[in-house]
Structure formats: structure tokens, C-alpha cells
Symmetry: C2
Subunit: 234 residues, 2 copies
């Protein structure tokens, strides 16, 4: 098997940068973690907040700290640093090659979508709070086995609210995933790109949107090469 990840991220129209921060780090016990943070407000101030929260989580994950503790620490840090006045959503998506699971940590009202061939589409939508505002905030953590065909889709608010700002119906990522699975699309980057594109079309780019996808596929040629690539428009 191999684990593929793909992320697509766009800033609100006419802001110089997205308020969302996405970072990735190797897990010292094997695998990797991706951290996606959406800072309150937009533009520079949102970016500063999301950067601080993502940095704290990444730094701890890099040292081998478990996901739940890293999420709590990132909350405590923002809560202390900004005195409970600023919030951010925080998702940690980890591929843990030691436990052979995908670990999904949510401090975000937005749900996470998962798919396994056995169980079909599921929504991880237990009540969950953003970090930074309430004293003892903790993440909601789910774990799914790494099996061929599995998918996990994490996104910031902008995705599911796309459309509402221009008075259209809100974009429905679950319905979109239904189509994507029916189409047999398994490439993580293609899935992320399609969700982002559909949402942007709905709203003309009125919000920051980030989408992060993990997919597990077969490794037909048995290649042991790890790959990492990306694009930054200037």
C-alpha cells in the first residue's frame, strides 16, 4: 500500500495571503502529520494567528508528542498568548505508520469526511470547539485503520460555507464526495483540487479555503520512493 496526500489552498479574493496555515512534519516514530489551522478574521491578522498555532503543534509533533497533547498545547499557548480573545480552528491529520492508522484530531466545528470501502462515507461531526477561547478545550480524536481505498478529507470553514456569501446554496462537500467516489477518483491531489474548484466556483472566491486529502492506494510497482511536491503561485 501507499499513502498519498494532497492539499489545495486559496486565499480570499484580493487579500495578499490566505489566513489558513498548512504545515507538515515527519513523525519521529514513523509517518507524518499535517496541521491545518484557520485563524479568526482574515488577511494578515488571521495569518499571524494560524501561523503561531500551527507552529506550536508542528514543533511538538516533531518531538514525538502525541496528537491529542499537541492539540491541547497549541490551544493553551494561543489562550495564554492572546488571553482567550482570539480563536482558531485546528485539525491534525496524521499517518501513523507505527499503529497503522490515520489519526484525525478536530478542534473545529467543521466536520471531517472519511471513507472506507467497508463503511462507506462517514462524517466525523461530534461537537468540537476551536482553540484559543475556552479554558479547557480539547480535541475530538478519531482513528481509522490504513486500508486500501480509505480516504480522509479535512477542510476549513470556507469550503462548506462556499455559496452562502453570494446568496447561493451552501456547497455540500459530502454530496461532492459521493460523486467523487462514484467517479472512482482516488488521487488525493485530484480530490482536493476538485473540491476546491467546485467551492470557488460557487462563491467567486470570497473566503479562504483549504482542503486536505489523504488516500490509501495499492503500491502496484512496489516502489519504495517517497515523494513530496507542490506549487506556489507568485
Amino acid at each position: 500500500m501507499k499513502v498519498n496526500f494532497g492539499a489545495a489552498k486559496i486565499g480570499k479574493y484580493a487579500t495578499s495571503e490566505s489566513g489558513d496555515t498548512l504545515e507538515m512534519i515527519e513523525r519521529p516514530h514513523g509517518g507524518l502529520s499535517m496541521v491545518l489551522v484557520d485563524g479568526q478574521r482574515s488577511g494578515k491578522s488571521a495569518k499571524t494567528i494560524s501561523n503561531v498555532v500551527a507552529r506550536k503543534a508542528i514543533q511538538l509533533l516533531a518531538e514525538g508528542v502525541r496528537d491529542g497533547a499537541a492539540a491541547r498545547a497549541a490551544h493553551d499557548y494561543l489562550y495564554t498568548y492572546r488571553k482567550g480573545k482570539v480563536s482558531a480552528t485546528l485539525n491534525i491529520l496524521s499517518v501513523d505508520t507505527y499503529t497503522k492508522t490515520i489519526v484525525i484530531s478536530r478542534n473545529n466545528e467543521s466536520p471531517v469526511i472519511i471513507y472506507t470501502p467497508d463503511q462507506g462515507l462517514q462524517l466525523l461531526d461530534q461537537p468540537s470547539r476551536s482553540v484559543g477561547v475556552y479554558r479547557h478545550t480539547k480535541p475530538v480524536i478519531s482513528e481509522i485503520p490504513i486500508v486500501e481505498g480509505a480516504l480522509a478529507i479535512v477542510f476549513t470553514d470556507g469550503l462548506r460555507h462556499a455559496g452562502t456569501l453570494s446568496g447561493n446554496e451552501a456547497y455540500d462537500p459530502v454530496k461532492a464526495m459521493d460523486h467523487i467516489i462514484a467517479d472512482g477518483m482516488v488521487d488525493a491531489q485530484c480530490v482536493a483540487d476538485r473540491l476546491l474548484r467546485e467551492a470557488v466556483e460557487r462563491d467567486d472566491g470570497r473566503d479562504d479555503i483549504s482542503v486536505l486529502v489523504i488516500s490509501v492506494t495499492g503500491n502496484e510497482n512496489g516502489s519504495q520512493v517517497r515523494r513530496l511536491n507542490g506549487t506556489i503561485p507568485l
Copy 2:
């Protein structure tokens, strides 16, 4: 324009993991930095060293510390932590969207290859020392403007020594880049994959090899989407 990056990484045959560590982080003033570290020896012990050095550099870069200072600090940290007994090569490759340059930092005997349409292929091969062993080690830093067609290729020792372990002629990455440029290949991941594949064929996978490529291309459709993707074989 857009900046594309691509990395390919493989562990020595029959070791569970590569001793090389590659990490990436967003630069708070804009752009991103990639850190590639090759720890002395192979297997677990090399991985522990490369992880510590990469983590220190990444942590500082994430806080806005400039590349030269981050490289010095990573050296000081390893030198102190392992009492000057362990070395690691360290390369930092940064896309600085504020200065509009690619910044290449070397603590590595292995050269870095750069290409610009104006100057053609150049080898950055000023004498440079690994981190960890000599008291006041500092990086050799070069900077090239971000112009369309520019390429930067960073690699660990395994690439240019490929072939020698099985008694063949050493793989020549510069000659390989000559062919790649003649072929008009500009996709960063394709370039990284080709260099890695050719080197592995030469040596039957007897060493850890990592290749990291940055390419600057036009942005024909004007897309503002940032993308990040990758693959981990399990």
C-alpha cells in the same frame, strides 16, 4: 510565475528507513524553506541525527530566523548535544517571496546545481563543511533571482556516489542535468524522479539518496491555488 518543488527520497536497500530527513516549512515573511539533512552512518542512528538537525533548523526558520543563522544554530546544537563527535550534512533551500530569490545554504561537500536561462548550468561547489564537528562551522550561502526557467537541484551524497559502491563509474548529476535540460524537462518532481531513478539503477540501492528540485515556470492560467502533495510507501 509559479515555483514548483519536487523531492524524491529512498532508503538504502534493506534498511527500514532512510537516514536522510527532509522537512518543509512556511516562511513567516513569505515563501517556504526546505531542509535536507543526511546524518552520519546509516539506519536508525543516522535518522536520529538528521531528525534533530532538521527539526532545529525548521523550528527557527518557522520563527522568521534567517537561513544563515538557522544553519549556524543547527550546527551549534548538534555540536553541543553530541560533543563534536557526530556530523551531518545540511542544506537549506528557500523560496523567499519577499526578496524574490531562491536562497541556497550549504553545509555539505556535495555541490548544488543551479540553472538559469541566462547563465546556463552552474555548480555551487565552494568548500563547505558538514555540521556537528568543527567549532565555528558556517554555511556557504548563494542567492539566485526567481526567474522563469530557473532550476535548483540539491542532493545528498548518495546521488553523486551512486555506482562507486558496486565498482561502477560514479553517477554524474551535472551530466544528467545537461540531458534533462536538453530534453526540456521542467517539472520539478519529474526531474527529481529521473535523477533518483538513474542513480538507483547505477548502484542497486546501496545508499540513502535524496534529491530536491525547485523549478520556476510560467503561470499560464493565472491560478492562485497553492498545492502540496506526496506519497509514502508503507
